[in-house]
Amino acid sequence: MATMTRCSESRLAELIDTYGKLVFSICYKITGDYFTAEDITQETFLSVFQKYETFDGNNEKSWICRIATNKSIDFLRSAGRKGVPTEDEFFEGVVEKRGSPEDLCLEEEIKRDLERRCESLKPPYDEIARDYYLLEKSVSEMAAERKMNSKSIQTQVYRARNMLRKLYGKEGLA
């Protein structure tokens, strides 16, 4: 059954470039949570990286999206999340029409809300959260700017993320 060779780092990078946005969108759509979608997207691609040899070579996109979908559903099951859509709702009409004026306004509102929450964190996590989530800088970029170790920045990002998660969780926002 296994026809593929091991997945190299360069191959993984290609897959992320090709399917990263789709996978994240799937995870976000199913879980409704930005941070969870991030985690599951990472897990999806790491599973792809580890199990690439078992892939039969047919319909790569479907295979990767299947992993993402199943992981997202597993997360919802284990977390016991409320508001899990029913079978009827899930794949019918759940996909909103993005790009509409309402959605653009909503995105702006979400960004402003995120900015406000980032600022409410204690330093240095406020700046870290702003750079990472709002300005979407990478860890290596942030490390270079601050002249710090990447691992230290990664730790700070992780902590900022947990703080933001708690803030969102407290107010009942997904």
């Binding site: 994240f24 969108s25 799937i26 990472q42 999206c65 909103e96 800088k137």
Partner: protein
């Protein structure tokens, strides 16, 4: 929702999402690649089974050496446990050594006893002399006991 989507449902969802504007955080790629590198490192190391085997081998050799030493090195004489598994020659040598030590001990005991007897005799003579000093007949009078 308890079941995973069917292939048809999944493809429909993918098509619908692709029609819309897709989004992913920019830092996601780097985060994934960093973790993938760690996994790759662990994969390439492949030391775990080998090191466990080496460890087991070392332990076995150490235990065997310890058991061998227990048999090879004779214990101190007098504690009732001699080295097991020694050759006949070594047994004889040990026995002779024990015997000669025994002889030495006996002769030493005898010498000590003889010396003590001498000292006891000397002490006896000394007491007698002292006793004689207090006797009346020596002083020219009656025996004080009477």
């Amino acid at each position: 929702m308890n079941d995973y989507p069917t292939e048809e449902e999944l493809n429909r969802m993918i098509e619908e999402l692709e029609r819309e504007q897709l989004y992913a955080p920019r830092h996601l790629k780097e985060d994934i690649l960093v973790k993938a590198r760690k996994i790759e490192k662990r994969r390439n190391k492949n030391v775990q089974p080998v090191s466990f085997r080496m460890y087991t081998l070392k332990m076995a050799v150490g235990m065997a050496a310890a058991v061998l030493l227990v048999f090879m090195i004779p214990a101190e004489s007098g504690n009732g446990f001699e080295g097991i598994g020694m050759t006949e020659g070594r047994w004889k040598a040990l026995e002779e050594r024990n015997l000669s030590e025994e002889k030495d001990r006996v002769s030493l005991d005898e010498r000590i006893m003889a010396r003590m007897d001498e000292k006891r005799e000397e002490a006896g003579k000394l007491f007698e002399k002292v006793g004689n000093l207090f006797r009346r007949e020596d002083l020219g009078g009656n025996d004080y006991e009477n």
